[in-house]
């Protein structure tokens, strides 16, 4: 009964759409004809605003959220245009035409039975988009959410290559990883356990010319990534693997180091915070539409009123990206950007230029900009460009603060983190433990077998640290063969246990060299700071003297610092 009524209502609504389309089209034509006057005073503009506002309001509630969304963009643009000081021009009309086109396109395909109100209840909840509601880990429309992957200790290898199987079986164990081997794909789905963290499929099990199955992940839990291993590392093969659902591709030969590296990479989650964007330029339709589009996609926007406010706002909000509109109080985007690039804090800030260099149909590109979007602009294209640029910039940032050899924090980044953790511990009156670790006799290893062998030892040890430490622990490479770890909330005894275990695992690793294999060891010093007392310097000095003691007593051992007491 209610459903019938609803269906009737939706049918009437959809029957009215041709009239609405005609009305929007007529409004646009009237505005084009009145371009030499300020068309905002005319009847056509008022009707245009009413139509857009009504569609924006009714679209979502009628169960057509996509139509409501694009109509809302048009509504926002018209409101901003009505409030703008300057009379609208040809560029504004072109923007309105683009936005109206998007609405017309959606209107043309609406059918009552497609309304989300007539769909099962759980689909409805997703379809009705409430403005301002942003789920955690939000991604703009069209971008799949990245799922967090399962952390476990088991790797399933589907392969018949006994050399690879043998290597991995022996060498993964010191990293705390267990290998389960299956000889063909059919056995895979039933082999998964709650501890499975990665599946590696040897392309050779499909036969030398055999094709990968259409979906490698069929029948597997969604949070277990699949990697394809192939002796032919070509673009073709990589594309085919990805198309079959592989999260990664590894070329043969594969050893434990490659697998552990792969796990690190796959499990590295990008920064989940929504991007913060500063939009700089004259107020008006472009700026309003830009801010609306980004905010509706879950991003945070700051809009400085005047050029004088820009540096202050950049320092305060530390945005992920800056959007420069082509003109701002008589300044060109090129001049503003040129000056910003000379500022040490903003040399690498991603910048998008909206509407070209010096305006008036000049070329879009501006020296020092990362992206340019010409006018009129598609709000959805803007959102995607900003989103992808910010994700890329965050990945680059993560690389810069990490040491390239070991993928651990650099000296400077580690010290920054230590300062932060100390003040956090002080505030929450929590324990904080710092460990310094130093690989024994690395200089001799380098001299005997060359730097490549020494580097492999450093990398192996780094991987061990990343695998064995808790997610909340902070690991850095202070330089040379010295590593440092912050263990927030851990007591000295707990830290000693963890570090002793790691030293044991490291000792049991077989380090390959040209003469065969050898063993390497590590010495460690641990210092704790109840309630985060002391400075960064105190912390490192105390841990360093404990490390010195460990070296003095014959290396390959863990020493605790004598308690540090800061005078009250």
């Amino acid at each position: 009964m209610l459903n019938e009524k609803l269906r009737g209502l939706l049918t009437r609504y959809c029957d009215s759409l041709p009239d609405r389309q005609a009305s929007l089209t007529a409004a646009l034509q009237a505005l084009s004809a009145a371009l030499d006057t300020d068309f905002r005073a005319g009847e056509a503009f008022a009707l245009f605003r009413r139509d857009a506002h009504q569609l924006a309001g009714s679209g979502g509630s009628m169960g057509f959220p996509e139509m409501g969304r694009v109509a809302l963009s048009l509504d926002v643009a018209l409101v901003a245009l009505a409030e703008a000081e300057a009379a609208p021009g040809a560029a504004d009309l072109a923007q309105l035409r683009l936005l109206t086109g998007a609405v017309l396109k959606r209107l043309a395909t609406l059918k009552p039975e497609d309304s989300s109100l007539l769909q099962p209840v759980d689909e409805q909840a997703e379809a009705i988009l409430m403005a301002g509601d942003v789920a955690p880990g939000f991604a703009p429309p069209g971008i799949p959410l990245r799922q967090s992957l399962r952390l476990g200790t088991e790797i399933i290898l589907v392969s018949q290559d006994d050399v690879v199987i043998g290597h991995l079986q022996r060498d993964l164990a010191p990293y705390g990883l267990a290998l389960t081997v299956r000889r063909d794909l059919a056995a895979l789905p039933s082999s998964l356990s709650g501890m499975t963290t990665l599946v590696i499929v040897d392309r050779a099990v499909c036969g030398e010319d055999g094709l990968l199955p259409p979906s490698l992940t069929a029948g597997l839990a969604a949070d277990v990534p699949v990697a394809v291993m192939d002796h032919d590392d070509s673009l073709d093969r990589r594309i085919a693997a990805r198309a079959a659902g592989a999260a990664a591709f590894v070329g043969k030969p594969v050893n434990a180091a490659v697998v552990v590296d792969l796990l690190d990479r796959i499990h590295h989650m990008p920064d989940p915070r929504p991007p913060t964007v500063v939009i700089a330029g004259n107020g008006g339709m472009d700026r309003a539409l830009c801010a609306h589009a980004l905010q509706a996609a879950g991003m945070t926007c700051a809009l400085p009123e005047e050029p004088d406010d820009l540096l202050g706002i950049l320092a305060e909000t530390r945005p992920d990206l800056l959007i420069l509109l082509r003109r701002w109080d008589g300044l060109s985007a090129a001049d503003i950007l040129g000056a910003l690039r000379q500022h040490p804090a903003h040399t690498s800030l991603p910048v998008l230029i909206l509407g070209g260099g010096d305006g008036d149909g000049q070329e879009d590109s501006v020296a020092g900009a990362d992206l340019a979007l010409s006018l009129p602009f598609d709000p959805d294209a803007l959102v995607l460009s900003v989103w992808h640029r910010v994700q890329r910039a965050r990945e680059m940032q993560a690389l810069i603060t990490r040491d390239s050899l070991c993928n651990l924090l650099t000296h400077g980044a580690f010290i920054n983190q230590l300062e932060r953790e100390l003040s956090l511990a002080r505030r929450s009156r929590a324990d904080l433990t710092v460990a310094l670790l130093d690989i024994d006799g690395l200089r001799e290893i380098n001299e005997l077998w060359g730097h490549q062998t020494g580097d492999a030892v450093l990398q192996g040890f780094s991987r061990l640290l990343r695998q064995r430490m808790r997610k909340t622990d902070i690991i850095g490479r202070l330089g040379g063969e010295t590593f440092a770890i912050i263990l927030p909330g851990a007591s000295k005894a707990q830290a000693r246990q963890v570090i002793t275990d790691i030293a044991g695992a490291f000792r049991s690793l077989e380090q390959p060299c040209r003469d065969g294999v050898f063993q390497a060891t590590v010495s460690a010093g641990i210092a704790d700071f109840a309630d985060g007392s002391g400075t960064v310097r105190d912390c490192l000095r105390a841990a360093d003297s404990a490390l010195f003691a460990a070296k003095n007593r014959g290396r390959d051992q863990v020493c605790l610092a004598t308690p540090v007491r800061v005078e009250a």
């Binding site: 609803l6 609504y13 009504q54 009714s58 809302l72 926002v76 409805q124 009705i128 403005a131 301002g132």
Partner: protein
């Protein structure tokens, strides 16, 4: 005793939204609703309908939501009448702006017809809470 919410005056200029809202409030929500298409009409009907709560669209041609509310306040029984706004693009600072004007809350558009009546009742209940001491008349 707290009387449950039964009578709502709803002011909205768009006939499509009126229809879907009526279905949500009356058919699904079981409320008695009087619809007006403009602020003027609402001010005329208010004294005879005696609503327990008023729902106001913000953007209406002629008399907008806030203006309608201000006029309503001058009518007999209007001074303490709980009023909620309905509007698109709700952000937290806008919600607090409307609350500062004296609205008891804001319902965002587009609304979900399946839960609209619940949202209205929740705003009403929340308002009753704050009125706790003045029940005994």
């Amino acid at each position: 005793m707290t009387a449950p919410l039964e009578r709502v005056l709803y002011v909205e200029d768009d006939s499509d939204i009126q229809e879907i809202a009526l279905m949500a409030l009356v058919d699904l929500g079981g409320l008695a609703v009087k619809v007006c298409s403009s602020g003027m009409e609402a001010l005329k009907i208010f004294p005879e309908f005696c609503p327990q709560m008023v729902l106001l669209d913000v953007m209406m041609p002629g008399m907008d939501g806030p203006t309608t509310m201000a006029s309503l306040r001058t009518l007999p029984g209007g001074a303490a009448m709980p009023v909620a706004f309905m509007t698109a693009k709700v952000q937290s600072h806008e919600v607090s702006r409307y609350r500062d004007m004296g609205a008891i809350g804001v319902i965002s558009k587009p609304f979900d017809p399946m839960t609209l009546a619940d949202q209205v009742r929740a705003l009403w209940a929340e308002w009753r809470e704050t009125q706790g001491g003045t029940d005994a008349e």
